[in-house]
Each structure stands twice: as structure tokens, then as C-alpha cells.
């Protein structure tokens, strides 16, 4: 699986990210790092704990990461949830969380597929 295919699978903009980060190696490195990012877990926890402020920050961080990595799809849902949380609408965010989760899982799944296809030393 190429990185470009991975981006197609996760609904991202490969052209854009390569335009900014320049090297495939770097993109790949960050993609793998995304798997370790705890922001999503923090978002879920905070929403469940009804901590709007913390949830907002977490969503905002996800949004920022998505922008950096050009994850268009996850960016869109994370932006929406960020705006809901900015307005303090935790109930709405709770209802919307499933959409984010879906996009997040799609993203993680694609990256894992990429990871699986890489030769050992790259992992």
C-alpha cells in the first residue's frame, strides 16, 4: 500500500500534504505517529465526563493535527465538533461524537493497513 492509497482510504488530500511536507518519508513518519496520538481518547473521555472545556481543546487539537496532515475527512467532522464545543454544546457534541469516531476509525484503519504493508525496519 502506498501513502497515496492510504490517503485515499482515509479521505485525505495527498497532494496537499506532500506539497507542504515535501517528502514521502516524513509524511509516513507522521502518519505512524498519529496512531499514538491521545487526543481522540481525551476527547471521548472529556465528553463523557461532560467537561466541555477539555473536550473543546482536545477536538481543537485533533482539528489542528488533521490540518497538518491534510486528513480532510476527519478534519471536517472534528471541525464541526470543535464548533459545537466552542459554543458549549456538549449534548450536541455527544450526539455527533459517533461521526467523529467513525472518521477517526477510518483514518486509523487506513494507517494501520499502511503500517502492515511496510517492511519491518520502517515500523
Amino acid at each position: 500500500m502506498t501513502i497515496q492509497e492510504c490517503y485515499e482510504a482515509l479521505g485525505g488530500d495527498y497532494e496537499e500534504v506532500i506539497g507542504r511536507l515535501m517528502r514521502e518519508k516524513m509524511v509516513q513518519k507522521f502518519l505512524l505517529k498519529f496512531l499514538n496520538d491521545k487526543s481522540y481518547d481525551l476527547l471521548v473521555e472529556s465528553i463523557e465526563a461532560d467537561n466541555a472545556e477539555e473536550a473543546f481543546r482536545a477536538a481543537h487539537t485533533i482539528k489542528g493535527v488533521c490540518q497538518n496532515l491534510s486528513f480532510t475527512k476527519l478534519y471536517q467532522s472534528s471541525e464541526l465538533i470543535t464548533e459545537m464545543l466552542r459554543a458549549g454544546d456538549t449534548a450536541g457534541a455527544y450526539a455527533f461524537l459517533d461521526n467523529v469516531t467513525e472518521d477517526y476509525e477510518q483514518t486509523v484503519k487506513a494507517i494501520r493497513a499502511l503500517q502492515a504493508s511496510l517492511p519491518e525496519e520502517a515500523q
Binding site: 497532494e15 506539497g19 507542504r20 471536517q76 464541526l80 464548533e83
Partner: protein
């Protein structure tokens, strides 16, 4: 306005007029009455005063006459007494005494002199004989030893004045006289009293008790005053009473005064007895002259009073009328204001109903799609499709809400401009990259042109200007059917505001559906939207243009619009902007020879001008064929062009064909750059394959050319990073506050490429601590995320700026955030940050910013 309220209004004003007329009439009547009463009263008062004055005057005159008379009589009596005292009857013989007396009498102008005896007989010693008229009272007085005057008559019937004093002489009859009597002409009194009425206001008669005149007035034939009065006037009761009262007063020797109205006027009459005679002085003061003077006065006063009354009324009328018209005017204004308010309310409620429609539509889509998605949980394709539509509707809804919020900010006067240094080039670059996807999806051809821009850096609110241009452009895209033509044209002029300013003109033109002239008139009003069915499916709150207009007004600029239905629309924006200081870099490149190829002559000329400014000698040509010809000619002369700028779209041979041909003929040495307003990612591979070295984005600012060309001018071999760093950042240290380690690593990786050394602060507090602990000048700049736990970017910046060390205020702090709302940007600047970049990190943009701030 309804007819009911119209007629109510008319009724009201009729009532008002009636009230005014009635009250004015009343006032006029009242004034006339007051002035009349005043006039009548004053007339009465003046009549009384005149009577008083007459009385006073008459009293004076009367006293004077009687005094005068008395003096005249006394004088003569004295003379006579002197005669008596002069000679002692005992000393002289009777003959010589008489002769002496006669002589003395003559000397004293007496006409007669006589001795007067007890019986009233007279013995004349000088002059002829006389008889005493009405001798009885005279005799009585003489017997009593008084001095007296009386009238005598000579045999010829002439009357003379008789004067008698005590004197005892022997008379021929042997008797002893009791008095000496002298006579003199009556003219003497006449002269001394001047009783004639010639010219005088007042005249007088001297009469006896029976009314007969002592001195016959020359113009009167009657011998009695009573007869005179009876003849002159019709005898009535009042006159008779007057005459009888006069007679009885004289009889008793009393004064009598009266005012009597006679046929020829009112007169005052005063009768008094004269001393040492049996006579009475009647003084008559006709009021005629006085009355006429007074009448004249009072008629003048009446006229003046009427005039005064009239002028007061006139003034009141004027005031009333003025007041009335003013009230009318105010009512009208009020009515107009009410009308405008009603219109505004109407527009607002229309807007609300539109808005509720506009909001409901995407909301319904969201709700509906959510329902569909829920029903088809297992059908991934269906759910995906639904979510896509939901995302689209949400985005649209968010746009609507943002517009409404902006508008409410404007309406409450809270929107302000944040004027700062900005680059027109950067702004246009950003703008072009934002609208390109939309342009492409609607297959519009998009033409960007600039001309004569000398000041790229100006002072302006870049966020708001961007909003305005984005609004104009997205309207152009929205209201132009697919495959239309849209152009953005920018040029500069001398500003009327002074040398420090430039006037920037921006034209946004499309060949879309256009607007009706009625709509153009209210285009900039809030809550308006072309309300015809063809527009209905196009979204928008109708606030964009109102917001645009407001921003342009706040920038003291102008926005003009020309539009024709089904032909297109052109917006013309004119703004005066203050020039920022000259550019940081002196933009000069080596004097290379260069060829510009574009079918647009204006663009070619502008580019050649701009190139000349940065030191490059450039030729231009309008077609690809001619370009190849020129290049070959120069090649033969061994004066090859050192760089070729090529438009992508050309008539005949297109840009790529030309590039291929040039490469074939001239080899790989010369850089060939493609100019394009489009995102070249689509045809990049093809272009590179055709031999294109790189790309330059329209519009061609001086700085665009400078930065775009510089990297090809410097000898750079091989596969260098396009748009790579132009400044050496090695050994520069940057503190980066970012809570997310992935983001941090990306930033670290990217910025390390520039040779920067980065240090990581996981939140605002750590950032603050690290900065505080480092020595001054250790860090060259701080990149600051906004949303961080413990301490956010705003607080951290404020805390750093407040530190008591010399670089606390000077160190550049650049915000990095995923939020690009204008409020966030403003808040960053308010907190003391120098600039703001939006995530994701664009190396080019960031390096440019760092270049700007690290230079110092």
C-alpha cells in the same frame, strides 16, 4: 398607510386649523376690545385734563386781567388823589385853587374834573358837563368815602370813565364837596385791558349787573351781554339757566364759573366782580382750539392705537403661521420617520421569514439525512452519502450564522477595523488560492491582472479587506452560470489623500446573470436579496453586500456597481491606503535578459515594467510562435534569453507546446517558467514533462517576480526544494509552544529544514518558564499555539510581554492556530502577538514571517 388613518389624519389637521382660527379670532377680538377701552379711557382722561388745563389757564388770565384792570384804575385814582393832596383848600383862594386843579387835571390827561357833593351834584372846574350813568351806587360809595370808578356820559352821548376820590372843597353852591371826580376816555381801559378777541384764545367783557357792556366790543351791536348771548345762540333751558345764574351771582357780588356747551363748541365762562367798581369781568374760554388740538391728538392716538393693535395682531398671525407650518413640517417628518421605520421593520420581518426559510432548509436536510442514515446504518455507501450532505448543509448553515452575527455586530456598532501593515500580494495570493477550487468546479475561466502597483505593502485591515473581496468573488462565482468568465483587476493611482497614500482600484467582473437596476439600487441595504424565482435556489442570507458596504465605508472607500441582466456585473472598489515603509529587501536581481510571453498585452507591459524595476531587461511577445522565433534569433546572436516566462494559455501554440519546442531547439539550460492564475497541480506533471522548470502565480507583483525568479537566478543545481528558504536561519533558536506532540514533531521537522533550532514547550506555562529562565536574546522568536492546557496562548503571551526584561517586549511572538476567525486574529494582536499564521503550517508563509521578524 391605510385610508382610515389617512382620513383620521385629515380630520385631525382640520380640527387643528379650526382651533387655530377660533383662538386667533378670539385673540383679535380681545385685543381690539382692550385697545378700544384703552382709547376711550385715554380720551376721557385727556378731556378732563384739558378742562383742568383750561381752568388753570383761565384762572391765570382772569387774575391777570383783573389785576391789570385794578392797576389801571388805581393808577388813575392815585393821580387824582395826588391832586387832592397837592393843594390845601384852606391855603388858596377858591379861584386860584380851581385854576391849579384844572391845570393839573389837563396835565394828567383827564378830560374833565369836578367837585361832587352829597346830593350827587357835580360842579365842573375843567371840561364840559357830564352825567353819571347808574349814579346811585357811585354816590353811595362816595358818601362812604371809598374810591370808585364809574361811567359817565357827556351831552354828546360819549361815554367816559369816571373816577372819584375823597376831596372836600367849597363849591359854588356853597356846599362842601365830598369828592373830587375826574373823567377820562373809556379807550383808556380798552387800551390797558386789550379786551378785543383778536387772535387771543380767550376773550373778556366788562359788564354791569344788568348785563350791559361797560366797554362796547367793537364787533358787537347789542349793548348787553345777555342780548348778545340770546342773539347768538338758540335760547333753551340750559342757556336761560346759565343767564339767570350769572345775573344772580353778579347781584350778590360773587364769582360764577361754568362750562357750557353751545352750538359752536364748549366754553368755559367765569364771571367775577371788579374791585372799586360795580362792574363784572366775564372771561370766556372757548375750548374750540384746544378741543381741536385734543381731537387731533386723540385721533392720532386712535390711529396709533389701531396701528399698534394691528401690528401686534399681524405679529401674532405671523408667529401662529410659522408655528403652524413648523408643526406641520414636524408632523410630516414624523410621518416619514414612521414610514421608514415601518419599511425597515417590514424588510426585517421579510428577512426573518427568508432567514427562517434559509435556516430551515439546511436544518431539514440535516435532520432528514440523519434519519435516512439512521435507517440505513448498515449501508455504508448510503450513510456516507448522507453524512456528506449533512456536512455540506452544516457548513452552509455556519456561513449563514456568521453573516448574521457580522451584521448584528455592524448594527450594534461594534465592528471596528484593525489597521495593520499588510501585503497586497500575500492577500491576493491567498484569495486566488481560496477561490480556485470553486472556479474549477464551476469551470469558470479566472483572469487575474494587476497594473502599476508600486506599493505592495500598505496599511489596511487585511482580514476585512479579504472578506470584502472574497464576498465579491464568491458572488461572481455563485451568480455566473458554469463556464463563465470572471476577472479580478487591480491597479493603482495617485491618492487625493496625500503622498503617503495610494489609491487602489479593484475590479471584479463577471459575465453572469447580472442584476436588475431596481435591485442594484437597494443592493447594499441589509436583508435584501434579488427576489425572483431564478435566484431562489441560490443560497445566501442577503447580508454579504450590506457587510461589504459597511466595511468599505469604514475604510473610507467607495464601492461602485454596474450590472445588466444576463450580461454580467462589475464591482469597482476604490480604497485609499497608507503606504507602508519601503520593503525590507532591496529587490534587485542581476541584469539578465528575459522574455515574457503572454497574449495579454497589458499583462506583458506591466510585467516588463516590474522586471525593469528589479533590474531585469525583458522583451515581450504576444504569441508562442513569435516567442520561439525571437529565442532562436537571440540564440544565433549568442545572446540567449536567460529566462523565459510563459503563459499557459496562448492562442495557437499553447504554453506547453512552446516549452517543448524551446527545449527541443535550445536544450535544457534556460529556465522556463509558467505563469498561471490556476492551481497547477492538475497539469504539473505534464508541464514538467514538457520541460517547464517552475511556476509563477498570477498576479505578477514585483515581489512575486522577485521571489519567483530569484531562486532560478542563483546558480542552483539539481533537485532543490521549490520555494525553499531564501534566508539563512541557522543558529536561530525558536521556542515553540504546542500541546500536541504530533503537531510539535511536524513543526519541528519542517522548521528544522530551514536550519532553525527548535525547543518545545508543552503548554503556555512551560513556555513562559522556559523564556523566563533563558538569558536575554537566547530565543529569537516564539511560535505560540493558542489552545493549550494549563495556560493558553493568549495568557502566556500577556505574561511574557509583562516580564521585566528587555527582550520581553521585543521578542517576536507568532500565533499558530487552527482558528482563522477574524476575532481570533484580532485577539492575538491585542494580546501582544506580532502576527498570526493559520494551521496547517505552510513553510513558505512561515519562513516569510520569520524572515520579517528575525531580521531585526
Amino acid at each position: 398607510m391605510s385610508s382610515a388613518s389617512n382620513s383620521r389624519h385629515a380630520n385631525q389637521s382640520k380640527r387643528n386649523i379650526r382651533f387655530l382660527i377660533v383662538s386667533f379670532g378670539g385673540l383679535a377680538l380681545f385685543s381690539v376690545m382692550v385697545f378700544s377701552i384703552l382709547g376711550i379711557y385715554m380720551n376721557r382722561r385727556s378731556q378732563d385734563t384739558i378742562s383742568e388745563v383750561g381752568e388753570l389757564y383761565m384762572e391765570g388770565v382772569r387774575e391777570q386781567i383783573s389785576l391789570h384792570f385794578e392797576t389801571a384804575i388805581n393808577l388813575q385814582l392815585e393821580q387824582l388823589k395826588e391832586l387832592v393832596e397837592m393843594y390845601d383848600a384852606e391855603d388858596l383862594s377858591p379861584e386860584s385853587l380851581r385854576a391849579e386843579l384844572a391845570y393839573r387835571a389837563e396835565v394828567r390827561n383827564f378830560s374833565h374834573l369836578a367837585f361832587y357833593d352829597q346830593a350827587g351834584a357835580m360842579e365842573f372846574i375843567y371840561g364840559g358837563t357830564l352825567e353819571v350813568i347808574d349814579s346811585k351806587p357811585f354816590l353811595e360809595s362816595m358818601k362812604a368815602g371809598d374810591e370808585k370808578a364809574a361811567v359817565g356820559r357827556d351831552p354828546q352821548g360819549n361815554e367816559v370813565l369816571l373816577l372819584g376820590v375823597q376831596g372836600s372843597y367849597f363849591m359854588d353852591s356853597g356846599e362842601k364837596s365830598i369828592a373830587l371826580v375826574a373823567a377820562m376816555p373809556l379807550e383808556y381801559i380798552k387800551e390797558s385791558l386789550s379786551l378785543e378777541r383778536e387772535g387771543g384764545l380767550l376773550y373778556a367783557y366788562i359788564i354791569r349787573k344788568d348785563g350791559s357792556f361797560i366797554i362796547q366790543p367793537s364787533d358787537v351791536s347789542e349793548h348787553s351781554y345777555f342780548d348778545l348771548v340770546r342773539r347768538q345762540y338758540e335760547v333753551d333751558e340750559a342757556l336761560e339757566r346759565y343767564l339767570s345764574l350769572l345775573a344772580s351771582s353778579m347781584e350778590r357780588g360773587r364769582d360764577y364759573a361754568t362750562v357750557i356747551n353751545l352750538a359752536d363748541g364748549r366754553r368755559q365762562i367765569y364771571c367775577m366782580p371788579l374791585n372799586k367798581t360795580e362792574w363784572h369781568l366775564v372771561t370766556i374760554l372757548p375750548y374750540g382750539a384746544l378741543d381741536s388740538a385734543v381731537d387731533n391728538l386723540s385721533s392720532q392716538r386712535t390711529i396709533m392705537t389701531l396701528l399698534a393693535c394691528g401690528s401686534v395682531l399681524l405679529l401674532i398671525i405671523l408667529i401662529f403661521m410659522r408655528y403652524y407650518t413648523r408643526t406641520r413640517q414636524q408632523m410630516q417628518e414624523l410621518e416619514e420617520a414612521r414610514f421608514t421605520a415601518v419599511q425597515a421593520t417590514k424588510a426585517k420581518s421579510e428577512f426573518l421569514s427568508n432567514m427562517s426559510h434559509d435556516i430551515r432548509t439546511p436544518m431539514n436536510a440535516i435532520v432528514g439525512m440523519t434519519a435516512i442514515a439512521t435507517a440505513h446504518m448498515d449501508d455504508r455507501e448510503q450513510v456516507k452519502n448522507c453524512l456528506k450532505k449533512i456536512a455540506l448543509s452544516s457548513k452552509h448553515l455556519l456561513g449563514l450564522i456568521n453573516d448574521v452575527l457580522d451584521m448584528s455586530k455592524i448594527e450594534s456598532g461594534k465592528m471596528t477595523l484593525t489597521v495593520d501593515k499588510m501585503s497586497l500580494r500575500e492577500m491576493l495570493d491567498g484569495l486566488v488560492s481560496i477561490v480556485q477550487p470553486q472556479m474549477r468546479s464551476k469551470r469558470h475561466s479566472f483572469n487575474v491582472q494587476i497594473d502599476r502597483i508600486t506599493a505592495e505593502d500598505v496599511y489596511c485591515d487585511s482580514v476585512r479587506l479579504n472578506q470584502v473581496l472574497l464576498n465579491l468573488l464568491s458572488n461572481a462565482i455563485k451568480y455566473t452560470p458554469d463556464g463563465g468568465e470572471i476577472s479580478l483587476y487591480l491597479y493603482e493611482e495617485v491618492s487625493a489623500k496625500g503622498d503617503n497614500f495610494v489609491r487602489i482600484h479593484v475590479l471584479v467582473k463577471d459575465n453572469g446573470i447580472g442584476m436588475s437596476s431596481e435591485f442594484v439600487k437597494k443592493l447594499f441595504e441589509s436583508y435584501s436579496r434579488e427576489d425572483s424565482t431564478r435566484i431562489h435556489k441560490i443560497e445566501g442570507a442577503g447580508l454579504g453586500m450590506a457587510i461589504t458596504k459597511y466595511i468599505v465605508d469604514a475604510m473610507e472607500g467607495q464601492i461602485l456597481v454596474e450590472s445588466q441582466l444576463d450580461v454580467g456585473t462589475e464591482f469597482h472598489l476604490i480604497l485609499d491606503m497608507e503606504k507602508a515603509e519601503a520593503m525590507d529587501l532591496e529587490m534587485v536581481l542581476p541584469p539578465w535578459r528575459m522574455l515574457v510571453v503572454d497574449d495579454d498585452e497589458l499583462l506583458c507591459q506591466t510585467a516588463v515594467e516590474a522586471l525593469k524595476d528589479i533590474g531585469i531587461q525583458a522583451d515581450f511577445t504576444l504569441s508562442g510562435e513569435r516567442a520561439i522565433q525571437l529565442a532562436l534569433e537571440c540564440h544565433r546572436k549568442r545572446e540567449d534569453y536567460q529566462i523565459v516566462l510563459l503563459d499557459w494559455k496562448l492562442p495557437g501554440m499553447d504554453g506547453l507546446q512552446v516549452a517543448r519546442e524551446l527545449r527541443r531547439q535550445l536544450g535544457q539550460d534556460i529556465p522556463i517558467l509558467l505563469i498561471s492564475a490556476y492551481d497547477w497541480s492538475e497539469f504539473e506533471a505534464e508541464a514538467r514533462e514538457a520541460g517547464v522548470t517552475g511556476f509563477i502565480a498570477k498576479p505578477l507583483f514585483k515581489s512575486t517576480l522577485f521571489y519567483g525568479l530569484r531562486k532560478y537566478m542563483v546558480v542552483e543545481e539539481g533537485d532543490q526544494i521549490p520555494d525553499g528558504p531564501s534566508m539563512d536561519f541557522s543558529n536561530r533558536r525558536i521556542l515553540l509552544a504546542e500541546d500536541n506532540d504530533l503537531n510539535w514533531e511536524i513543526a519541528n521537522e519542517l522548521l528544522s529544514e530551514l536550519g532553525l533550532e527548535l525547543e518545545w514547550a508543552e503548554n503556555g506555562q512551560i513556555c513562559l518558564d522556559k523564556f523566563r529562565q533563558a538569558s536575554a536574546g537566547y530565543y529569537d522568536a516564539i511560535l505560540m499555539d493558542i489552545r493549550m492546557p494549563v495556560m493558553n496562548g493568549y495568557e502566556a503571551t500577556k505574561a511574557i510581554r509583562a516580564l521585566p526584561r528587555e527582550d520581553a517586549a521585543a521578542i517576536p511572538i507568532i500565533a499558530m492556530t487552527a482558528d482563522a476567525f477574524s476575532e481570533d486574529v484580532q485577539r492575538c494582536l491585542q494580546c501582544g502577538m506580532n502576527a498570526h499564521v493559520a494551521k496547517p503550517i505552510h513553510l513558505e508563509e512561515l519562513s516569510r514571517l520569520l524572515e520579517r521578524f528575525l531580521k531585526k
